[in-house]
């Protein structure tokens, strides 16, 4: 197998250990694969299947349901422009037109230099800050064509445009696939402990005796 880097394989096993059943880790591991290569490769799905005890077809079956997983290479920067109702009312479609004409591609395509992929997306929960676009899931609120042009120019020059988003975010712009610049880490000695449901020891210790429990239940 051996798709994941050594560090990511350690991480993958740690993530699996947080779930009562390994299959629950399929989506987190697809994210990890996408983080490693920017998209989900066939080799990645084979190893995820191996690690979680399901078939590779099940991994693809699950993964292909979700829009964020890409099964082919995409740009280093994923530009998502919202055109749903709140953004539409305030110029989201015009913004998308500007993005497409500036980059010379249509939604769904990637620029020839491999830098940008554009997608028209559904509501991204920034409705009061419409119109809105995101780049690698970093928000740009109350966006104008000028802001988009500056973001493109920053990225081409190797600068982070995150501060321009007026979204309370700052710092580096990660490449496509890297979602969180901070990861959850659970120290082994602090874990309450995770077991498959059939191995659970019955009623949790902090509840009172069985007779008093949930008389209303």
């Amino acid at each position: 197998m051996g798709y994941f880097s050594d560090a990511n394989e350690v991480l993958a096993n740690e993530i699996i250990g947080r779930y009562p059943r390994p299959k629950s880790a399929v989506i987190p591991l697809l994210h990890l694969a996408q983080e490693q290569d920017g998209w989900v490769t066939r080799e990645a799905m084979l190893q995820i299947a191996d690690l979680t005890g399901v078939t590779a077809a099940e991994v693809l079956g699950t993964g292909s349901f979700y829009e964020m997983f890409k099964f082919h290479p995409v740009g280093r920067y994923m530009v998502n422009v919202c055109t749903n109702i709140s953004c539409q009312l305030l110029g989201g479609e015009e913004l998308l037109n500007h993005v497409e004409s500036t980059l010379g591609i249509s939604a769904g395509d990637t620029t020839e230099d491999g830098l940008f992929t554009v997608e028209e997306v559904e509501c991204v929960a920034a409705c009061t800050e419409a119109p809105c676009f995101t780049v690698n899931y970093r928000y740009f609120h109350r966006a104008t064509p000028e802001v988009f042009d500056q973001v493109v120019s920053d990225l081409r020059d190797g600068h982070s445009p995150v501060d321009r988003g007026s979204a309370g975010d700052s710092g580096d712009m990660p490449e496509h696939g890297i979602l969180g610049r901070v990861r959850q880490e659970i120290p082994v000695d602090r874990m309450a402990g995770v077991v498959p449901p059939e191995q659970a020891l019955g009623q949790p210790v902090w509840l009172p005796g069985p007779a008093d429990v949930d008389a209303d239940g």
Partner: protein, 472 residues
């Protein structure tokens, strides 16, 4: 307030969209602090005091307090959380908690704000729920596209584990629980609680057959599972610290407390407002100096969506309704996820309707035929009307397709003005979940009120024979 800041127009730069309106801040009290998401700030401002109170009482007492507070679910359905908690069957262990942070209803922006700006308040709420119900693990399901929210929650959980607030023996007690941050990956339907559970089990996010209606009976891995919305859980710390009676001091009797409303679209000051339920009206919210300050550009109001893309539209005659689940539901719509979209008189009703319907067609999971086929029929018919290629029978055809997804009377929000009768809400459905029926709300709302706009676009006079009734 030290380190606190808001601009002269009421916005808070580091909490984008949030507007200081002078009202009570049960949920957004920390938003003024730039470092509101840190454990340090949380602790300095009463963080985890609600958890300490909970741990000093029995789990049953904590459950009773929440039940007495009449905390209504903030995800859309408005079901009382304390009652939902009571649906766990006796003697079946383990039980799980799933925090639903998959916010994606069109128009909705409040859970993302709560997760980004005050993750500790949410974590504290999860802990209180787990303690009260004997839930042995919590999964915090955050929408995949919300990268900053995930980072803030990951950082907060790391600090909380380190500080002994989460994990083994919380605050030295015998209460132990792991909270796991789980990333979604882009699918609106996963906000439906049984689809959420499927997704968490590593499957395609398709809703489960009902009954059972509540995963509290059979949920994650077949075990009793409580699924609560992020905003619902974010209320628990305040309720535990201040008590149910104090909570009921805010809002109305039927809908106590405050709620976050995101007002977007054609208003002067769009934003996220913490508002006392049942006291404030839509008119206050749209026109009040402390709120949105009127319709932008001096235009008149045409219509508004009171509770997210799935809600039937409201009009001028609904402005004096209070922001309260029951009142809005009696008038034929829903407050849903606190997502209010304002459309001014320049709005193209057909275009707005098409965009909403396209959303449901895109997001249909494909499990139930009426939704899978029907939403794409609706989209295609609306698209051709919009493009000036509509056929004379298309309006009837649209209503007929809708009738097969959500049999009438249609959930059209209206009073008995202009010859329109009030009809009951929620709608009936021929599907497992409400996604398909939701697509019918904008269609029936727009056709009943703005039928002339549809007719004006249907320019062809050479009638093409079309069956106006499908499938019968």
């Amino acid at each position: 307030m030290a380190d606190a800041s808001s601009t002269s127009d009421g916005y808070v730069p580091h909490a984008p969209g949030y507007v200081v309106n002078g009202g009570p801040t049960l949920l957004t009290g920390r938003f003024l602090f730039e470092d509101s998401y840190t454990l340090e700030r949380s602790m300095q401002t009463g963080g985890y005091a609600g958890l300490r109170t909970a741990l000093s009482r029995t789990p049953t007492e904590v459950h009773d307090e929440v039940r007495q507070a009449t905390l209504l679910g903030r995800g859309g359905a408005g079901f009382p959380a304390g009652v939902k908690w009571g649906f766990c069957p006796n003697g079946i262990w383990p039980r799980y908690l799933v925090a639903n942070g998959d916010e994606s209803e069109p128009g909705t922006y409040k859970d993302r704000l709560l997760m980004e700006r005050d993750p500790h308040q949410l974590i504290e709420g999860c802990l209180i729920a787990c303690y009260a119900l004997g839930l042995s693990q919590c999964f915090l399901y955050v929408r995949g596209e919300m990268a900053l929210a995930q980072e803030r929650i990951a950082g907060a959980l790391n600090d909380a584990y380190e500080a002994g607030l989460v994990g083994a023996n919380v605050l030295g007690s015998d209460f132990s629980v792991d909270i796991v941050l789980h990333w979604g990956a882009g699918a609106y339907i996963v906000g439906e609680e049984t689809a959420l559970i499927e997704s968490l089990e590593g499957n395609r996010g398709m809703p489960r057959l009902k009954p059972p209606y509540f995963p509290a009976a059979i949920g994650l891995y077949g075990q009793p599972t409580i699924v609560n919305n992020v905003e619902t859980l974010s209320n628990l710390a305040w309720i535990m610290e201040n008590g149910a009676d104090a909570y009921k001091g805010y809002g109305s009797k039927a809908s106590p407390g405050t709620r976050l409303f995101a007002v977007s679209g054609h208003v002067v000051r769009p934003g996220v407002y913490e508002v006392e339920q049942g006291v404030t009206t839509f008119r206050d919210l749209f026109y009040g100096a402390d709120y949105c300050r009127g319709i932008s550009g001096g235009h008149a109001l045409k219509a508004f969506i009171p509770g997210g893309g799935s809600a039937p539209w409201f009009f001028g005659e609904h402005l004096d309704l209070p922001l309260e689940d029951r009142a809005v539901s009696e008038a034929g719509s829903m407050l849903g996820s606190g997502a209010i979209v304002v459309m001014d008189e320049t709005t193209d009703a057909v275009k707005a309707c098409l965009r909403l319907v396209r959303f449901y067609a895109n997001e249909s999971c494909g499990k139930c035929a009426p939704c899978r086929e029907g939403t794409s029929w609706e989209q295609k018919i609306l698209q051709r009307i919009h493009d000036g290629e509509g056929r004379p029978a298309d309006i009837d055809l649209l209503l007929s397709v809708g009738n097969h997804i959500s049999p009438g009377p249609y959930p059209v929000a209206s009073f008995d003005t202009e010859g329109l009768e009030a009809v009951p809400f929620p709608p009936t459905q021929t599907t497992i979940c409400p996604l398909g029926p939701s697509s019918v709300a904008p269609i029936t709302s727009a056709i009943r009120r703005f039928r002339h706009e549809f007719e004006a676009l249907i320019t062809r006079s050479d009638s093409i024979p079309v069956v106006s009734e499908v499938g019968t």
